[in-house]
Amino acid sequence: MKTAQETNRVLTTMSSSPAALPDMDGWVKFARSAEDAGIESVLLSFSRYEPDTILIACAVGQATKTLKFIVAYRLGLMQPTTFVQQINTLSGLIGGRVALNIVAGSSAAEQRGYGDFLDHDERYARAEEFLTICRNLWNRTGDVDFAGKYCRVEGARLNTPFMAPERTFPEIYVSGHSEQAQQLALTCSSSWLRLIDTPEKLAPSVSCFRERGTEVSLRLGIICRPTHEEAVKAGRAMLPDEEIGKQERAILSGSDSQTLKQALAAADDVGWLSRNLWAGLVPYYGSSAMTLLGSPQELAEIFLEYKRIGVTQFIISGWPKLEEMVIFGRDVLPLIRKAEGATDASDQVRASESFSTSSGVT
């Protein structure tokens, strides 16, 4: 079993990291455990340090039955028609269990390594054009013509449709905290995906999205222990060595992502955003390490509080991932489902897990 420190991102980005190598045994074990734990989907993160997300979803999707795959993909890497052809093909091979997390691209240096030289704002403008073409292809109302500033197609047509039991196009999560990201989420997505913050801080923007028909999903880390004190202690034990911290900080500060900048500021300014929401791991593990910690009862109540302000989905990380997910499925999720019990199943909050090649599940 790997410790939290051993799976942190600094190590993942090294070219010798096993995170670069497909690990079917570990992935399938994690994926099947996720199915058992009542997890709806796994988020496959995209970077140049890891294998391609669409192909991972294809391989792991064949070895699972109910789990869905939220495939993160950056734009600027392929033509929209090709992207839709790959996603539609994948949908037909794994019973439609695929959704998309569209990332405009958070690191300028990494984007240039892929051949993409647009700046932050232009990347969002392109994303809107890209997703418009995708949506028109999914609508299947005839050949698609589109001439934008960044994307152009004429007479685009794909015979392979998106194939899922109840959908004709995938759910799309758009992540990012910037004004452009929120605009893109409102116009082109089924859900805005953002980092967790306190319910008070989130309430206004959540209701704004919900009024306009877009769901809100939160990313967070979780540390659940029998008592609050034990959870805090477990969190502190995950703080890494100082040297690793410096390196991680260097990677993070090279990013032009609004999400990261805000998360880092939160970590520096306050550390604790509430009694149960801790930013202490963010400088070391990235923005998705904004962590909820506490006892099962506390955590279940907090999830329900987010539900009350309109949040519908959560994408959760843990360190180590597998153990924390098992605890969540066993101790927290049943409390949430019990409280939701009276209401309709379609009204349940949706729990997903982040899934990464460095999950250490071996």
Binding site: P22, D52, M78, T81, Y114
Partner: protein, 381 residues
């Protein structure tokens, strides 16, 4: 155990839904399925694993090395299909066709490398510059034929730099620009660090592209006499040569001829090649349309070419005749073949049972003869 320079035989992956598991399909029905596969309601658009797996199992048993998985807007994506089918098989390799202009080379390398790690390295690529302007426009590609080749060359140059695992890939071309490119996932295979790169096409730019960036030139079969020069030229540059052809093998030549005649469309004016408006290969194919003489040689038939295009050039005859024809190509330096049949399953089974053993036996004799011959040569020190 085959000889080190043994001919490699690949097969075209049947289209999705083409293989009717547990049902009989006539040769003519197989032709119709393929001809009609571009229609939007064809089952060819929807991935269907059971038919593919049925074929893949027969192909592995027959001694087929790889399947070529096509790319076009009417069918599922070949990289994703190779992944699904590769996970469900153990020996068969996949030659995934892809075009430059559809994705960044770094992304293509990341996908191919990921796939290699998922299916034991059983992936090669066939780079096509794109044969139809209409189809390319739908993919967002508005370059002309010659520009597409120039771009394909840059595309493969960047891919090859990633596969060499240069520290960091930097490239500044007309069509692609990469700065500080790095893909951590390597190409993972037991015996190599990059895939074979098949470059297909009959034009001068395509041949040059193969020389500069490819490892194998892929073209449609012609007579050994006609191919001799290009094969010699290509082999001299250190590349392999692979031929595409259809195959009709029956117990006797007369039966093979009858089977071929039966494939001709009822409507003798039918043609599906107009979409491929920007391909040298298809222009050459169309040039044969007016001709009533449909034989390049006594065993090489072009009767279907005017209707469906040059890749329907078909080798036909008895097992001995067909095996001899393969060996004649070997003699001029051809290394590999990618075969189609009607129906694919029936023909691949016949090939594995009737033809391949003759070819392998002849190759053993050739090697033995060459061995004996070299023993007779006195060492000249």
């Amino acid at each position: 155990m085959s000889q080190p320079d043994a001919l490699k035989f690949h097969w075209m992956l049947p289209k999705s839904g083409e293989v009717a598991v547990g049902a009989r399909q006539t040769a003519k029905e197989a032709v119709r399925f393929r001809v009609e596969s571009t229609s939007s309601d064809s089952p060819a658009a929807r991935p269907q694993m059971d038919g593919w797996l049925h074929f893949a199992t027969r192909a592995e048993e027959a001694g087929i090395e790889s399947v070529l998985v096509a790319l076009n807007r009417c069918e599922p994506d070949p990289l994703i299909v190779s992944c699904a089918l590769g996970r469900a098989t153990t020996r068969l390799k996949f030659i995934a066709a892809y075009r430059s202009g559809l994705m960044q080379p770094a992304t293509f390398v990341q996908q191919v490398n990921t796939l290699s790690g998922l299916i034991g390295g059983r992936i090669d690529v066939n780079i096509v510059a794109g044969s139809s302007t209409t189809e390319q426009h739908g993919y967002g590609d508005f370059l002309t034929h010659d520009e597409r080749y120039a771009r394909a060359e840059e595309f493969l140059a960047v891919c090859n730099a990633f596969w060499r695992r240069d520290d960091e890939v930097n490239f500044h071309g007309t069509h692609y620009r990469v700065e500080g490119g790095k893909i951590n996932t390597p190409f993972l295979a037991p015996d190599r660090t990059r895939p074979e790169i098949y470059v297909s096409g009959h034009s001068e730019p395509s041949e040059r592209l193969a020389y500069e960036q490819g490892t194998c030139l892929l073209r449609v079969a012609d007579t050994p006499e006609k191919l001799q020069a290009v094969v010699a030229r290509t082999r001299a540059r250190g590349l392999r040569v692979c031929l595409r052809l259809g195959l009709i093998c029956k117990p006797t030549r007369a039966e093979a001829l009858m089977a071929a005649e039966a494939l001709l469309p009822d409507n003798r004016d039918e043609t599906t090649t107009q979409l491929k408006d920007d391909s040298q290969m298809y222009r050459e194919g169309a040039a044969t349309a007016g001709s009533t003489h449909h034989w390049l040689s006594p065993c090489l038939w072009t009767g279907l070419v005017p209707h469906y295009g040059p890749v329907w050039t078909t080798l036909l005859g008895s097992p001995d005749e067909v095996a001899d024809a393969f060996l004649a190509y070997k003699k001029i330096g051809v290394n590999e073949f990618i075969i189609s049949g009607w129906p694919e399953v029936d023909e691949v089974v016949t090939f594995g049972r009737e033809v391949l053993p003759i070819v392998r036996e002849a190759e053993r004799r050739l090697t033995a003869d060459a061995g004996n011959h070299s023993c007779q040569v006195a060492p000249t020190t």
